[in-house]
Symmetry: C2
DNA sequence: CCAAAAGTGTTTTTCGTACACCCATGT
DNA sequence: ACATGGGTGTACGAAAAACACTTTTGG
């Protein structure tokens, strides 16, 4: 079956920069390409956009091909459309940035790779990735935007370590907590950590709103 | 002649939110639709993306169909892709924000309309326009981003009035000048205004870099 | 009782905002 | 000489950054 048009149509894809933070290691989800072009190279997970499919839904699907994701943070980054970015046909790609908690996608559609080691990607994916980092750094000015990197319940120190890793700088503990509570609207779960050989810490969760 | 594909392809367009400031009047360039759908309604200037055409080039072309534009500021806003945004076929649109100096496009592809009066537009263009305003307001935090609204040579008071109109607030003259010079890197042309019945003002230009 | 992380206010510095007067030109 | 916009520095207040000690638990 074929689909015909009066004038040429580009293909449209979504590509997703999925990030998570393992300890202090910021990782991006990559897949290895099986076929030409760029066979064997690493690439961002992506998918063609269904003819009746919303862009954000397509982005979720690109991550979801194995297993469901709940409540993930998805932000559109930009459209990439250089005429020669795919050697097969004209492809315009809408890039999304997805933030996942540390537990997400233990295995499935791809491999988590430390961000610094993700280079020499297929297509223009290195450019997309670079842009995603810039967008992330801009958005992180508002701490609340970074909360999806955290697990459902977390301590204040976990939160601080998370943002320190993301922004590659250190914070003063008290100033950080002030700023966090001012901008993020958290909720005390009533529970505390256990197991460490030291004083337990309160566990917080983000208010679903 | 027809173009055939193994699977359905959406159409891809660019839509441009072109803004200029006339005195204190922020205006957007609109065209009136001749044909269905939305015949008679106002719409953003736009165009289908040529199969080998870069997105930004297509955006320029959408403004340029009558006469050339030099050195215009063009920023990608976002991709809009709701499946039903065009009743004819699936159309994904990449929206751009263009900033023009007061002199640009005196006549041609469309009509300049005061931003506040631009409502009830065709397609989802009202949403695109709203988003463009948000993006503009965010970007204007950095004053340098607003310089394209100014003519090639301008006085400090012209600059101040421009930003006051854009941000709908007033500035203190001395604080504004400090901030402007700190963030914008301007150059004294050596010329001054003439004709007014008062002291002439120095003319500045932006450093091309 | 010691080690290790949790928790909690005050001071200092920095940045943004408010403010007032004299100057140069054209009429 | 006067009316009109052009040009310039300082003082105050709010917000961010720096800073140190006491508390709780497990070993």
């Amino acid at each position: 079956m074929t689909f015909s048009y009066d004038y040429p149509h580009p293909a449209v894809t979504v590509d997703v920069v999925a990030l998570r933070l393992q300890e202090i290691d910021l990782q991006v989800l990559l897949t290895r390409r099986d076929h030409q072009p760029y066979a064997g190279k690493w690439a961002l997970p992506g998918s063609f956009v269904g003819i009746d499919e919303d862009l954000a839904i397509a982005a979720k699907r690109a991550l979801q091909q194995k297993g469901a994701l709940t409540g993930l943070s998805l932000t559109q980054i930009a459209a990439f459309g250089k005429p020669d970015r795919d050697p097969r046909e004209r492809v315009i790609s809408i890039a999304y940035l997805a933030i996942l908690p540390p537990s997400a996608i233990e295995e499935g559609i791809g491999t988590w790779v430390t961000l610094g080691r993700a280079c020499n990607l297929a297509f223009d994916h290195s450019i997309i990735l670079k842009r995603a980092r810039e967008v992330m750094l801009e958005k992180l000015d508002r701490l609340s935007w970074g909360l999806p990197f955290l697990p459902k319940e977390f301590t204040l120190l976990q939160a601080q370590s998370t943002f320190e890793a993301l922004l590659d700088r250190s914070f003063d503990k008290r100033n950080f907590q002030k700023k966090l509570f001012d901008s993020c609207d958290l909720e005390d779960t009533g529970y505390v950590t256990s197991g460490g050989s030291h004083r337990p810490a309160r566990l917080y969760r983000t208010v679903s709103a």
